[in-house]
């Protein structure tokens, strides 16, 4: 691949207790591209996504070995400050999960955590993040009201804005549209196309059409193994592995 590699994954293995959940995964995630992870449920695609910002650390009995390099730095090195890592690699979850605070405070949460106190600066970041997440016009009159009053689609874009507010370099999205209606889904897909110019995006999706619509690269996972990885066009038009073909033609999963 001639693109700049943002994240380099090599011989990554993950065990939940005795369960071997990820088996020797190797992958290069390119900068300013959208990379999609597809596969049937339980295939390890979400688990893999969470190894990229070390959210799996929070689960007891998880053992991870192998190498994950972000711009050449090993994110599992003991020297790493996980808070800095997660500032650089933001995440959007499957369920829209705004904090029970105002819209403004939701967005300002990250910048405040990272030490920004100036009201002017915060106002600026909040507006910019909301604009980048294409939700500013819908919420500009209710910035001080609870974020829990927004619709599901708005909440998810708010969560994207919240992730953008800490100025990440990579955005991980774990089935970000699976809980949303088709119109909200479309809006978020359009948004992702915009986002890839500034960020590197990795998305887990159960929806193959979504992968073909938005992703530059696609990886197919099956029971903890990465079966095939390539450009989205190649994966969906001429898969090299029989199992990939079976999956994308709907023979299982």
């Amino acid at each position: 691949m001639n693109q700049q590699t943002k994240i380099h994954v090599e011989h990554l293995n993950l065990h939940y207790g005795t369960n071997h959940a990820l088996k020797d995964v190797n992958m290069d995630i390119s900068e300013h591209k959208i990379t999609a992870f597809i596969g049937p449920s339980g295939c390890g695609k979400s688990t893999f996504l969470k190894t990229l910002n070390r959210m799996n650390d929070l689960i007891p009995n998880v053992k991870i070995d192998g190498t994950v390099l972000l711009d050449g730095e090993d994110i599992y090195s003991p020297k790493v400050d996980t808070t800095l890592l997660r500032k650089k690699i933001g995440m959007v979850f499957q369920q829209p999960n705004p904090f029970p605070m105002s819209v403004y405070d939701n967005i300002a949460y990250g910048p405040r955590i990272h030490g920004i106190r100036s009201k002017v600066k915060l106002d600026e970041i909040v507006e910019k993040s909301l604009r980048d997440a294409a939700i500013f016009d819908e919420v500009k009159d209710r910035l001080k009201k609870s974020a829990l009053g927004l619709s599901g689609g708005q909440q998810q874009r708010l969560c994207i804005a919240r992730a953008l507010a800490v100025e990440p370099e990579v955005l991980l999205m774990d089935e970000p549209t699976s809980a949303l209606d088709p119109i909200s889904t479309l809006k978020i897909e359009e948004l992702m196309e915009e986002l890839k110019h500034k960020y590197t995006v990795a998305i887990v999706t159960h929806n193959m059409q979504q992968a073909t619509r938005i992703a530059d690269y696609t990886a197919f996972f099956l029971v903890g193994e990465m079966i095939e990885f390539g450009t989205t066009e190649q994966i969906f038009s001429m898969p090299k592995d029989q199992r990939t073909e079976d999956y994308i033609t709907g023979r299982f999963g």
Partner: protein, 287 residues
């Protein structure tokens, strides 16, 4: 390399808070160990067979708490005999019969209110209502009736919790084969909720044993052996806590520590018993 993730950020504020969190948790344990340890240290030497098997005698100048133990038992038994059926009945109504609405909210609000009223208020009420109005005076019965109102919320709430854990399928199963509602409650619901109800009763015993302010002006503070077991509830009788209070007013701290030791033993035993019971309850659920 300001952009590197290898730079460990220093967070002195986090460290201070974490130390405080550990310190507070440690303090809670330390307080308990200190209280129990000191009571054992001062109380154990006072305890002997005479202390728990005789009445105090001004003539011989000896001290014993047997009448107080007996009075405490009387109050526990009478209070539970009245409060348990009422509490269970109330919980059954709330959980099995009522269909929500204003009345239920009213009952739940008053039950909550009862559990928030301080002992001393129960004491005043008991003195005026049971003591003066019903003419029970300072008597064990007056104290027991007062405590009945006080522990009613405990029994109602624990029974309600227990009833809520009985699966809905038991109810539909029983009603489906033609059982009447009361029959279903008697044969299916109550037996399943029994361990929870027993836990509530034991918790109530703990509350009664430790109670003092509500009894001072209702049950009185007499420390004589019962002359007639049947009419004893009509006479004044101080419980262990009341005797401890009286010892403190006379600055007889050794006697107070002796009683405190007995009370701590009872509290520990009750705590252990509820632990064992709730563990068995969990085991039953798993089966």
């Amino acid at each position: 390399m300001t952009n590197s993730i290898y730079v460990k950020k220093k967070r002195p504020g986090d460290m201070v808070l974490l130390v405080l969190i550990y310190a507070c948790a440690f303090l809670a344990v330390l307080l308990l160990v200190g209280i129990i340890g000191y009571v054992i240290y001062r109380g154990l030497p006072v305890i002997n067979w005479n202390f728990i098997s005789t009445a105090q005698s001004a003539l011989e100048g000896t001290f014993g708490i047997l009448p107080n133990i007996i009075n405490t038992l009387y109050i526990i038994v009478i209070t539970l005999l009245i409060a348990t059926p009422i509490g269970i009945g109330s919980a059954i109504y709330l959980n099995e019969y009522s269909k929500g609405g204003r009345l239920v909210r009213m009952i739940e609000f008053t039950t909550e209110t009862l559990s928030g009223i301080p002992s001393i208020i129960f004491g005043l009420f008991g003195m005026v209502f049971f003591g003066n109005f019903l003419k029970l005076g300072y008597s064990i019965l007056c104290g027991a009736l007062t405590l009945t109102i006080m522990i009613l919320p405990i029994i109602t709430r624990t029974t309600q919790e227990a009833l809520k854990t009985v699966p809905e399928s038991y109810r539909s199963g029983a009603l489906g084969i033609g059982a009447t509602k009361w029959y279903m409650i008697r044969t299916i619901i109550l037996p399943s909720a029994m361990p929870g109800i027993v836990t509530g009763v034991i918790l109530s015993i703990g509350r009664i044993v430790g109670e003092s302010a509500a009894l001072l002006f209702t049950a009185g503070s007499a420390y004589l052996m019962p002359t007639n077991w049947l009419t004893h509830p009509m006479s004044s009788g101080g419980t262990l806590t009341i005797q401890m209070y009286l010892s403190m007013t006379k600055a007889q701290y050794d006697n107070a520590f002796g009683i405190a030791f007995v009370l701590i033993v009872i509290v520990l035993a009750i705590n252990l018993l509820t632990k064992v019971l709730s563990r068995r309850l969990d085991v039953n659920k798993r089966d």
